[in-house]
Amino acid sequence: MSGTFVGMPAFPVAAREAVHDATLRGNLRHATHTIRAKRARAVGELSDWARLREAGRRIKDHTLRHLDRYLVQLEESVTAAGGTVHWAADAAEANRIVTALVKATGESEVVKVKSMATQEIGLNEALEAEGVRAYETDLAELIVQLGKDRPSHILVPAIHRNRGEIRDVFVREMGAWGRPAPEGLTDAPAELAEAARLHLREKFLRAKVGVCGANFMVAETGTLVVVESEGNGRMCLTLPETLIAVAGIEKVVPSWRDLEVFLQTLPRSSTAERMNPYTSTWTGTADEDGPRAFHLVLLDNGRTDALADRVGRQALRCIRCSACLNVCPVYERAGGHAYGSVYPGPIGAVLSPQLRGTASEIDASLPYASSLCGACYEVCPVAIDIPEVLVHLRERVAQGGPAVREGNRVVLRPARGHAAERAAMRAAGWVFARPRALRAGQRLASRTRRLHPRTLPGPGRAWSGARDLPAVPVEPFRDWWQRTRGGKDGGR
């Protein structure tokens, strides 16, 4: 397993391995079904859930509509509170900014709070290349980092690993990164957690620089909010002298009042808790308490392009709860790695092709990685109609059309490999516009029915590899209708 998503094959190819891996399927099935049921219970407790969901959608839509204004307000508030704001157009620029900030402190290591934005830009690798070591402190991120693995879930990046595998990773790798795993470590959850705690403790106490993301940024006051379950985040946010936050520009909300909604919907959707065990908020810097220097890197990296798209922009409402992953039947069977991004599952399938474009094989295949069953939309706490965006992106892949890339209006050409499909759709459209042509085709199929096999060769194997074909009837319905005048002339 390599630590990068670059050059991933198309989704169906990438999913193949996971589909046939019984252990992985079992792990994922167990984990997703457990959290799925818990979420349903936690959400069911609130009689005003539908209204909270609608409020969350509206707050996000309003903020995105006026993003320019709220971002400038945020910058002013953060600056007034003693912080420094940096703007990064893409991943490379964000990485350059953070690396320079770390180097300016003279340090060569940082502790990290779990953050999707820093995973998205590949910050750890960029720091590594400049001789700075980044230590992940979230338990699941630590497992992924030590195992030189890739994350496969937004909330539980090591969801594809079972306890035995985690024990082996700890025993094998911890020594190279710091305090080794205790002698005779077993795969008991309490022992594994204790091993991680001991391993991390020395890093917390030593670190001078912390790197984090943000769940929310309050424009009005310049306050950043991080929610978590383990308490490692609280340590990283308070102990170091310098704190650097990297956050997507869509994480801003206008005011503290808006948090009332999201601090209810996020924990119930993600961990099925009524409240997050740790909710850290900080505003700039304060004398004699917490970090002395605070930097906020605001990351675009394709977000403005997505914002320009009338249908696709709703994906920017995402609060990264991962509820959509946990209910997705495709995610459950294909696993997170097949999505070729730190954003797997349904949200990844609509976000990656917008942030990165649809030029690569994997990104062009993601909009099709769904049966459009709608379970994701149903659970999403900000009501992102993921099936709608998927279909919209399919249109972009198959037909091309206008889009915004890197801030420029472009007209995309249809992706390669869709020519046969396009021709088939046109032909079907022609037939369906002509009832008589349809009838001729149906009759031909019925007359030759004895010749039809139950399995198909060539591309038809995609169907008949796993399922038998239905038998073609003696006559289509319309012939029966006409022959019997709807059963009035002699029944069936």
Binding site: R16, S371, V391, F432, A466, R467, D468, F477, R478
Partner: protein, 251 residues
């Protein structure tokens, strides 16, 4: 009330028995149903595969064919959802693209007159006991577009519960997708097949002879998987169960 049967292209071509069952059922309930011969396809496959522009003429054709009816009844949750949910969306998109209101106006008359079969029975005709007899053990799979798109809720279940002789058994994981998903079944065949196999195993675990649903597209996938896995179970469209009567059951 002028009632039209919108059978769908898949049912017309491959499942005429479902169409005959709808006609028999509605006739028994005193509804004189018409089958407009001009009907073809609602455009769902085109739309969902990313060919919205190719779907537009099909939607217009649909509206032309069905405009004059008070109710348009379809034995397909997904085609019903196409007309009710996605036709208005197609109209909005055309407007947003600067092509005016003509598509939205053309489609509007058919949107709210289209009913999935179980909706028509329960909401419009106001019946749950349709006088059917079907002495078999049956499990019901609510298809995604019926469940989450149209919000069919417990209508199918209420109809099935009123069928004489029918023993309805709970399907574990009922609200999980069967894995059909139109072109998904071909483009992501392996994931689709894995979902289908899980659905079939859940169905088998109920001990039912019949898996019932309100959409033959899903049943084609589930049934094809059943016969490949040699389960001995049968897929049956809900219309065919509701159309069955005492005489047929005895025969």
């Amino acid at each position: 009330m002028r009632v039209a049967l919108f059978l769908t292209c898949v049912n017309d071509t491959l499942y005429p028995d479902t169409g005959r069952a709808v006609v028999a059922l509605l006739s028994r309930l005193g509804v004189d149903v018409d089958f407009p011969m001009g009907q073809t396809c609602c455009g769902q496959a085109h739309y969902n595969t990313g060919y919205r522009h190719e779907a537009e003429p099909l939607a217009r054709h649909f509206a032309d064919v069905f405009r004059g009816y008070d109710a348009i009844v379809t034995p397909s949750g997904s085609c019903g959802a196409m007309v009710r949910e996605l036709y208005p969306r197609m109209g909005e998109r055309a407007r947003a693209e600067g092509r005016g209101d003509s598509l939205a106006a053309a489609l509007a008359p058919v949107v709210h007159r289209t009913y999935e079969l179980t909706e028509f029975l329960v909401d419009v005709l106001g019946v749950t006991d349709v006088g059917a007899c079907y002495p078999h053990r049956v499990t019901y799979h609510p298809t995604c577009h019926g469940l989450r798109g149209l919000g069919l809720g417990d209508r199918p279940r209420r109809l099935l519960e009123a069928v004489r002789g029918l023993e309805l058994v709970e399907l574990p994981g009922a609200d999980e997708c069967c894995g059909f998903g139109g072109t998904f079944a071909l483009k992501n065949a392996e994931v689709s097949a894995a979902m289908g196999a899980d659905k079939v195993r859940n169905a088998e675990s109920t001990g039912a002879e019949v898996l019932c649903a309100a959409d033959n597209s899903c049943l084609m996938h589930i049934g094809g998987t059943m016969s490949r896995l040699r389960t001995g179970m049968r897929p049956v469209h809900i219309a065919e169960i509701l159309a069955s009567t005492q005489e047929e059951a005895a025969a």
